[in-house]
């Protein structure tokens, strides 16, 4: 390998020469579950506290989210991104969720007391299927990985928000948008 003389940096067959797959490929659930197990264990071995672990898992989720965003808008929406907040949330609840998990998320709710907050509810997220709900509910929720996916999808499409995962009705993802995002959305509605 080291002895070859490089003439061009470009390799003959680039990944961009291939057409984008339809995204219907499947692998075994066990396969994903075990990869995820190891991902959690790896993160666990490099941190000391549960919040640190959650952050690490969320970061990994964010990495996945960025890529999914492009993938889905190119494939499903003709390269057009949503610009309305509710449509964006619905896109996540339906299109993205169906693609990733084969079904829509269970519920999307708007908080009564804070217009910046939405809840996306999932009774049994894929990543928690094999884990018991901790009694004090304060413990690690591996669904922060999925929260990370949602967060980066929102952030990268201009809806800056913080997304956290909680043990509530199964798992509830709390999406808290920045004030400016809400204000902008209202302006758009008025137009």
């Amino acid at each position: 390998m080291n002895n070859t003389i490089t003439i061009s940096q470009i390799r003959p067959k680039s990944i961009l020469d291939k057409s984008l797959s339809k995204g219907r490929g499947e692998v075994s659930l066990s396969c994903f579950a075990l990869l995820f197990c190891e991902l959690v264990q790896y993160c666990q071995n490099r941190v000391y506290t549960v919040p640190e672990l959650q952050n690490k898992l969320a970061e990994m989720g964010q990495e996945v989210g960025v890529k999914l965003l492009d993938l889905y808008f190119v494939r499903e929406k003709n390269c057009k991104r949503e610009n309305k907040l509710l449509n964006m949330l619905l896109f996540i609840k339906t299109t993205l969720w169906k693609g990733l998990f084969g079904r829509e998320a269970d519920k999307l709710e708007h908080a009564n007391d804070d217009e910046r907050i939405y809840y996306l509810i999932e009774k049994e997220p894929l990543v928690n299927r094999y884990i018991s709900v901790p009694k004090d509910k304060g413990n690690l929720n591996c669904a922060v990985f999925i929260a990370g996916i949602i967060e980066s999808i929102l952030n990268c499409s201009g809806f800056t928000a913080k997304v956290t995962a909680h043990w509530h009705k199964g798992t509830t993802y709390m999406v808290q948008f920045e004030e400016s995002v809400i204000a902008r959305d209202k302006q758009m509605e008025e137009r």
Partner: protein, 144 residues
């Protein structure tokens, strides 16, 4: 018909899990000692059974019976050992053992990201699913 109790050992003989449903008499020794005794007995019995066998044994030791109870044994190729004590008339216990392995152990221990396989099993979900499976088993139509 009755299921009395269950032991799960790892390949090194550590007791990963113990549960009882209808155990009427205790052995009078600590759980650890009892587990050690049980594992030692299984180990010896297994090697005895294959040594003394007049035929080429494939499955080896699977079960023994006394006049009061029967001990059923399942060892996976990875060396996990599942031991279930039942009354002498219980049927299809081997299937049940295999179900415990594939539908409960593999699902809620092996695929559980917050469990270390070498540690004793503490998952609540595992316990609930195991209880459910035992109680659903046709042989457990209330202790008679």
């Amino acid at each position: 018909m009755t299921i009395h109790n269950l032991y799960i050992f790892d390949k090194f003989g550590c007791l990963l899990y113990y549960a009882e449903w209808n155990r009427l008499k205790s052995s009078g020794i600590t759980r650890e000692e009892e587990a050690k005794l049980m594992y030692g007995m299984l180990f010896s019995l297994k090697s005895f059974v294959s040594k003394i066998s007049p035929l080429d044994t494939k499955k080896g030791f699977v079960c023994y019976k006394t006049n009061k109870y029967a001990l059923h044994y399942l060892e996976t190729p990875t060396g996990l050992k599942f031991v279930l004590n039942t009354d002498v008339n219980a049927q299809n216990v081997r299937d049940l053992l295999h179900q415990i392995y594939s539908k409960v152990y593999v699902e809620y221990v092996v695929k559980n990201p917050v469990v270390n396989l070498r540690d004793p099993i503490k998952s609540e979900l595992f316990k609930v699913k195991l209880d459910g499976m035992i109680k659903q088993f046709p042989a457990v139509s209330k202790a008679s």
